[in-house]
Subunit: 463 residues, 2 copies
Amino acid sequence: MHPIRSYVESNKKRFLDELKAFLHIESISTLPEQKQTCAECAEYVRSELARIGFAAKIFPTVGHPIVYAEDLNAGTSAPTTLFYGHYDVQPVDPIALWTTPPFEPSIRNERLYARGAADDKGQVHLHLKGIESLRATRDSMPCNIKILIEGEEEIGSTNLEKFLREHAAMLACDTVLISDTAMLAPGIPTITYGLRGLAYFEITLTSANSDLHSGMFGGAVENPLNALCSIIARLKDEYGRVAVPHFYDDILPLTPEERKQFASLPFSDEKFCASIGIPSTRGEFGYSTLERLWARPTLDVNGIWGGFTGAGAKTVLPAIAHAKISMRLVPNQSSKKIEQLFKEHITNITPPTTHVEIQPFHGGEPALTPMDSPGNKAAQAALRFAYGKEPVFIRDGGSIPIVPLFQNILNAPVVLMGFGLPDENAHAPDENILLENYFLGIESSAYFYEEFVKSLSKTHEAM
Amino acid sequence: MHPIRSYVESNKKRFLDELKAFLHIESISTLPEQKQTCAECAEYVRSELARIGFAAKIFPTVGHPIVYAEDLNAGTSAPTTLFYGHYDVQPVDPIALWTTPPFEPSIRNERLYARGAADDKGQVHLHLKGIESLRATRDSMPCNIKILIEGEEEIGSTNLEKFLREHAAMLACDTVLISDTAMLAPGIPTITYGLRGLAYFEITLTSANSDLHSGMFGGAVENPLNALCSIIARLKDEYGRVAVPHFYDDILPLTPEERKQFASLPFSDEKFCASIGIPSTRGEFGYSTLERLWARPTLDVNGIWGGFTGAGAKTVLPAIAHAKISMRLVPNQSSKKIEQLFKEHITNITPPTTHVEIQPFHGGEPALTPMDSPGNKAAQAALRFAYGKEPVFIRDGGSIPIVPLFQNILNAPVVLMGFGLPDENAHAPDENILLENYFLGIESSAYFYEEFVKSLSKTHEAM
């Protein structure tokens, strides 16, 4: 048995007790009344890192503190990794739907239930225990290790960008490692290597200076609700493609290898449809469901409103119409460029009988780390070793804005090695982590560092 | 001076005092607490009719009472007219915007201000005084006169249809006369000879069994908001025509005479646009603004809603979308047939990835009385004589559901001889009637009956 596995085996009970203590601390970042417990949670992380030999420090922010720790004893010639996680959690409402209290961690069906069990305290903790296991079984660390644990991820990581920019030298690294994603399914170790970005707008279309009587004025006056529908209908073509000119120009197409990899995954259109109650999928012509979800951009109306929306009939010809429209972006689209293209196109297709206003909301960039990056290859080897089976590479249709932030500011590729599950109930009642994934996650974390050094040296040899 | 004019001249002060007394009675039909004053108002009308020699009676309904009166002394060989009006009024909110209290009639700028001054107590009263003037200046009435004044017009004339059907024999007549419309402009005596009808629907489009995350599902799942917009966009073509198959089949086209008549009216597109703050009109290709408003059908979205409509951005892929869509219909369209065509078309163009429900609301039929009907010709002559100038024939883009009701049940053409004005503020604060129109209305009412007999006999001679 590998010394790390045997160390984990002999410390399972203590690890679990420590995880429960960590999860017991109420660290809901959005609640002002938990500001103190959030600070206690940060201090818990700091002291735990100090205990296992790291130089660990609290960095106050105008919000919740950031914990930073490092062990640079591998020396300047050795590679450097930065692990990122967050100790803050989502609110627990609706509290009545929890089987056991969210901050009283409880084990049922081989899972540990608590707020933060998967997102992200459980996944932070398995790394703390992974690093502890690594140190306990070696004389020295294989590489320099930096650790950054923030307390504001659930409220938009408001102070993280400033911190990264101000401390870019301190945080300099060869790869960023994050465990805040989910596995494709139980028993399938998973690396997420791509994320979609987001561009989000609110459109307001106006015509007359007040609502009008549909009998007195109908037929001679532009109705902004009809006009808005026509505009929206023109944003996608009959093949499900976004009809904004130059929208697809910058997209990095899927490689044949990626399409083959997606096609090999255990995914069923039938089950997908059944799970959400739809008769069939619908999307861009020429792409599979997983390709559409993970690697193709979208355009969706997220909200629309205008005119009379109460019960019954009102013969009004409304003067104003609203819609929220967002686009998921894929590597290598830029939310700023898409904003420009979208605004131009909307302006171009807005009828001259109406006035349009386009308000952009905060977007996010897509992200991609090649499957064969040194970090991804290290994660692949570590997961293969821990789980005893070949990991899969997937993408995620959602956006994790901090990922492009790390890539852009630190200029280091990000590895997303997640130990959650699709039914982990993140942000919902009965959040949980499968115990098997917690323990195999500890092993994977410990193996990662050795594998990263190996992977990097192989890459250098190849060059 | 015509004896009627001189009778009106010498009774002006008394007429006005009586009108004020009538308007002073609070008869808001929608308010349960004014049930008693509505009954008093009905009794006021009944006793007034009895006073000028009519057999007048109150018919209770499950709502507010109907007043019916008749003078059939002209005999069975003489023609018969039925005058219809209503004594109930709209609520007075927002009360703060009234310059003087709504039930304290007050004269300013040659107008009488009060709730009901134009809609419709003022216009009922001018007929009571017209008939009184006629009787006072003649030995006998030129025709049989029936009078029906209801108290529920402002709440949908709920009990009128039943009353008309049950008393069709009693109400039998050669024409129905109504004064509940407005003149084109001050100083332009006006006959409204056409009204649009209405078909009104609520559409609900559903896809998945719950709202979804736009990142996790966007790109592979039909978005019912996008789909609804596409459906709505397909309901009109690029020439502003309604794209429901067979929608135009039954329409009675405008005659060259009607188009010439509309074109001769004092109407300015520029002023129309300026009055509602739009840069230009928009409507069906090939028709003028008045033609579009009065004699061409429409399709308008009256309301639309779905998804996230709060402040900011929410990345939701909604499961349900709603719209209220109505069509104004023109003679000879049938709201029932249009309902059938609309439902079929919506069902046909709804994507198979969604489920649609179409809920019809109560519609209304269009109405048309030929400009040269005996009643319209009588109104034309009466107005010409009273005002000393040629009246205009217009249509109205709105719907008055009781008009087709009278036409269908009593099988008698309806004459709409209105004495209101576009700025009469019906249903709004500071409702008013121009005193000149009140007094010339009394004369017109009195002249109408003699002219109707003449007009009918001319028609018979011509045949």
